[in-house]
């Protein structure tokens, strides 16, 4: 499904990813772990074409198609989803308005009729019930200052509504208390099926205890230094990243 080969990425002439390669198959869950500054978030943004990151060489194929020259919106239309570590707030636009715009954008790209307000509300309610997440006060709120947990919930709800084929979740667990983490992990699992794939980027094992990955990759200094199964999580826990690198 996703194939990254020998990717070299720079920002402001500083090399952040070095010959990075990774293959994710259909229906698989991958996890990338690594210390601060390892290049995990750079990878997520490079996959989505963030303009601040320059691809010096290498390729990213999604379903065999080179996506490097595509706009982020085109990558999203192909079925990619990026859950942000620190999602920005769009002032004066309610979350419900945003969600409706995102869903209708996808429907438009798939030549489906756009939802009107009533249809969208019904769709939203069905999806929220399916993943067991609620946004009581948030949906019609126009302001700023959402808590970290609220922002992460909103990311997962977007993922559920957009039904991506490959979701990259960049530190979806950061800043969450134990109960919120379990709630969000449960919701993510409910979006899973045999067709879609997941890439979890995290520092800690607690998310991976909830969502068991098929493959674990340890990333240090802009490249994968070790790949394996869940046993790598246990090694990181006991020796730290230094023990692996």
């Amino acid at each position: 499904m996703l194939k990254i080969e020998n990717l070299i990425v720079t920002r402001d002439n500083k090399k952040l990813l070095q010959n990075f390669s990774l293959t994710i198959g259909q229906g698989q869950i991958h996890a990338i772990m690594g210390p601060n500054g390892a290049g995990k978030s750079t990878l997520a943004k490079a996959i989505f074409g963030h303009p601040a990151y320059k691809i010096e060489s290498g390729q990213i194929l999604f379903d065999g198609v080179d996506i490097l020259k595509k706009e982020p919106s085109e990558r999203a239309a192909m079925g990619l989803f990026l859950g942000f570590q620190a999602p920005p707030e769009i002032p004066s636009v309610s979350l419900q308005e945003l969600l409706k715009a995102f869903v209708n954008c996808k429907r438009k790209a798939q030549n489906q009729a756009e939802f009107d307000e009533k249809e969208f509300c019904e769709f939203l309610e069905t999806k929220l019930n399916a993943i067991g997440l609620k946004l009581p006060r948030l949906l019609t709120h126009h302001g700023r200052d959402f808590s970290g947990g609220e922002k992460k919930r909103f990311e997962v709800i977007q993922m559920a509504l957009l039904e991506p084929r490959l979701a990259l979740l960049d530190e979806i667990d950061s800043g969450l208390d134990v109960d919120s983490l379990k709630e969000i992990a449960r919701s993510i699992k409910k979006t899973r099926n045999k067709e879609n794939s997941l890439l979890l980027i995290t520092h800690y094992r607690r998310l991976l205890d909830e969502i068991r990955p098929d493959f674990v990759h340890i990333m240090v200094g802009g490249q994968i230094v070790k790949s394996g199964g869940f046993e790598l999580v246990n090694i990181v826990e006991s020796t730290g990243y230094e023990g692996i690198a």
Binding site: S73, F81, E89, I90, S92, V93, A101, Q158
Partner: protein, 354 residues
Amino acid sequence: MKKCVGTLLQQPLLKKEGGALMLVDGTFQQKSCQEGNIIALPLEEAFSSYGSLLQCVEKTEAKNGLFLYVPPKVCLEEPLEIEHLVTHNGQFFPKIFVFAGNESRFSILLKASFPQHGSFLYHSSCELHLGDASHVSLSEDFSALSKQNKGAFFDTIHVRQQAGSHFSFFGLSCATGEFRSRLHIELAGAGAEAALKGFFAASRHGKSYLETEVVHSAPSTKSSQYFKEIVSDRALHSFLGKIRITKEGANSEASQINRSLILHDGARAIAKPILEILSDAKASHGATTNYLYGEELFYLMCRGLSEKEAQRLVIQGFCEEMFQGEERKELKKSLFSCFFKPLMANVRNKRLKR
């Protein structure tokens, strides 16, 4: 108007004659009128009848203009409209003097119209004197500047507030030529409050300058300033905001926020806050300048929105935030018709800053 302690006038001044108090090429030419003791006079006439109120004004410097007096405890339901109309090229220096009697309540909407291809210098100077416990709101709609790029329009507001008075200001301009606005507020009576807001757009080769000075010269006074700017093409916006709390301004509170959004490579925004605190008081300020291609745009595009759709949402949100909880809906309408729609037509053909 929320509360009226005295006479409530439902028919605003001159509405019967179908419009605003007009200053044509800087001169108030209408006949003097009086309604419910509200007085509107050409400035020259006012010097002979109301010389005591105007004793601080130099007569030779203030020939053309408008004198407006709202007596104590008079409340007006609808805004008083004042319009500057420029009909030909030249230099014009009109002055407006507004006297708000104690406990009066009213609002003023100040607008301007210009010839599309004219070249002129127009300097409007407005002085407001707010009596004890009066409430005055001033809205300025200079969105018409968006269609005029050869003229220079200067706007100077000076407000002196007595005890317990409240002044609220909302300014709107869309400069494609040269626009300078200077706001000087003096909170001279205990407990006086001023709330200043403004949205300034500058595009093409427009130059927009905003200078504010809020002086707290009496105890327990409050002021807030919240200004936003959008700068596009090769335009410039400069903000110089000063808060001064004198030794007499103990227990006062002041805040100042300035936010700029830059759309294109050649556009510039400058913000310079200055705080001078000479007594025990609270004061804060914050200034941000962001480029349109920030994380917000990337985030929206990652959700499938095209670059143009994402730009529209971010710019619209930036503009609309200014009008949340704002009663002056007419300004929002002006902003969207004179600025937002042409801008969005423009971004179709132009790559925004990355």
